[in-house]
Subunit: 493 residues, 2 copies
Amino acid sequence: MATELKDLTKRSENYSQWYNDLVVKADLAEQSAVRGCMVIKPYGYAIWEKMQQQLDRMFKETGAQNAYFPLLIPKSFLSREAEHVKGFAKECAVVTHYRLKASEEGNSVVVDPAAKLEEELIIRPTSETIIWNTYKNWIHSWRDLPLMCNQWCNVMRWEMRTRPFLRTSEFLWQEGHTAHATREEAEAEARTMLGVYARFAEEWMAVPVIQGVKSETERFAGALDTYTIEAMMQDGKALQSGTSHFLGQNFAKSFDVTFLNKENKPEYVWATSWGVSTRLIGALIMTHSDDNGLVLPPKLAPIQVVVIPIARNAEQLSAIDERLRPVIEGLRKLGISVKLDDADNKRPGFKFADYELKGVPVRLVMGGRDLENGTIELMRRDTLEKETLPIEGIVSHIQTLLDEIQANIYQKAKAARDARIYECDNYEEFKKRVKDGGFFLCHWDGTEETEARIKEETQATIRCVPFGVEQTSGIDMVSGKPATQRVIIARSY
Amino acid sequence: MATELKDLTKRSENYSQWYNDLVVKADLAEQSAVRGCMVIKPYGYAIWEKMQQQLDRMFKETGAQNAYFPLLIPKSFLSREAEHVKGFAKECAVVTHYRLKASEEGNSVVVDPAAKLEEELIIRPTSETIIWNTYKNWIHSWRDLPLMCNQWCNVMRWEMRTRPFLRTSEFLWQEGHTAHATREEAEAEARTMLGVYARFAEEWMAVPVIQGVKSETERFAGALDTYTIEAMMQDGKALQSGTSHFLGQNFAKSFDVTFLNKENKPEYVWATSWGVSTRLIGALIMTHSDDNGLVLPPKLAPIQVVVIPIARNAEQLSAIDERLRPVIEGLRKLGISVKLDDADNKRPGFKFADYELKGVPVRLVMGGRDLENGTIELMRRDTLEKETLPIEGIVSHIQTLLDEIQANIYQKAKAARDARIYECDNYEEFKKRVKDGGFFLCHWDGTEETEARIKEETQATIRCVPFGVEQTSGIDMVSGKPATQRVIIARSY
């Protein structure tokens, strides 16, 4: 592994290869035998579990409840909402049969043609259609609203070019689907959930994000508005990290979902949906990690502290372990996850490299001299700084340090991002500079033509109209037409 | 709802109908638009979440880690293990295409014949094949063993006759897959996990179970031994509630998974797999519930205590709410989940019936007289007993009471089950009595012929060779041949 570690491509050499290497070498995920589908390995899945736990708490605080809807969607449901089917029909896994049988040679199985489904079923690419078909029976009166369900599940979109976590044919996600009595309430819900995602990204993932609204072209298929959080990766590219959609009455009309209002008159229901996926793990990796491996924020690290004793012999090892025990117990009492690695079949140097690769925020090492001196060596992964500290008080020191590391990697990411947000008013300059990454704040005339031209000529897209930015009018850098706002344009994953 | 509640079929009239009614009326689940697939509603899903949390803790204590493997399995993988494919080929959902396109009329979508997969993909009915194909790359030396992964996911088995929770085409479950260096270790692991399931069923679900080993006919497709926990429903039928399989080296050989042992010699790896599913919710319902609705064990009840104020007017309501607040806060501080229902649009009688239907273990009611007297009315769902108690001390009383209810419903279920376990040595008597339910402990000669004849003539099956029963030899009641053990025979779900 120590030699394998050396093989981790440097970011400066090939960022994309560095990412692919790191996902595999840090034991996060690997390609499976099924095209475009990955296996999420235990270490990668442990990060996802930590994300799930916190997001689930945050969703429930807003009043959402979890439920579960079927994996398979009748083909006809997809067609009900015209934009929706356009968006998803091209990447659907289709179930056509429900049985296999022995082949005539008898040594394999083949699809049984007698077991053909009357109507094909689609593996859900997203669940609006099956859920709104269900909500029809759950919603009768204004008293049944708001209805707020979330599900944690797998979805499938048949992607031609895939990358672990960032774009896979099957991925894990959560999808919230809410129903409201008024337009205002639904719009507020979509914005609330965007805020939840932004808070999670910044406070838990330590990933700074820009909140904003998508252009019409970039909207979710079937939405009136798509809100987004956009993060900047170390190569300056944007990663759309979570979206929340105001769906208007589109799905209510397609599935005929009405409620009796307080005046006893039927009205169509207003809808939102919102989701984040295992893509967040990609964002986490590409925001913080370095040429030595992962850098994980303490709040999401499966192992927060690794403890490694270094001893000359078994007797000394047992003395060191003895001295370490109260430290480990003290940390665990505070809810800090600790791994003691006293395996004797790997050399310390190998262990050091391996835990750096895995992004463990704090490493403690105790050797014979430390034992004599009552000290311990501490290394923090974010800065790679080492110091020797008295054992006395080490537990509370680490508790504070974990918060400090969490804050530091956020600040570092924010400073790096902020240094690459540019105002730009000149298209020639934009074309030159956009290749090197960064978010470009440019005036946009609001037309699809301009948007399409930028994309064609630079592969960059309008990421969003950002919130919280004071908007001034100006001139569209491409068309020369008047523009009322600046948008963020960037290349993206 | 009060009138709807009356429509709950009585168990004595039609147990099966009672079950189907209750699942829907208690808001646990409903049929979806997709044949054989259910929607798990928020209240039902909340029970599943509680089950998951506890099981997940127990699995992790044994050293298992969570991971995630692909939903889709290449058809050829299924054929690798001969018994396995026989068991699952007949009920597979098969993906044959990866794209839809607009129909020629343009008003719907059809499967795009140009997007046919080279090899069909099966929606996992269980994941041994894809996992062992992955383990091949993870296991090289004895140091990589044991390898113990679990995944929480959905699976699909195309069932012709389905019932909510008990048998659905798609269901949620967990599947553990472990790899070991020796036969003994793998067998011990399979037994350990059976023990975990039994402990969970008894201590958390309050469902007594019999642990045992399946006959060869009833084994999991590809296993050398299938261990089972069998519960008895109120109608005397058995419900297989969890299984743990010793797979020998079958999958290791099919997928060529070897390791270098301590002598540096390659050996095939030994395997187990084990799973429980949303079927457990069916077991929970059919063990404890009554003609008024669900009876939930406190440890798995989404709402443990419901609090209902009854007031003549708004002023009194606010005085009662004020008095209830410290009670509710006190309960929540102990980690007890409490719902305050002071909605004014439903009458108390309606609320009472609804929370009985939903199986909430403890109901507190406070009216004007209670407020004056410093008392509160408490009803426990398991016995339907009501008493009026001083508010002083009610919090700690409830804490104790929840444990008592948990113990009581277990004892009640155990007594009911034990009263219907019969030793039986006469086939004529067996045939008469098995119709009325119960577990029959009968000598069996160990042959498939006898087993098949019993099944054909009585629809009863050998549930297991029970553990923890002192076995004596005797005469098979069907064949008259010598038998070395008694097995449990029963009709089952």
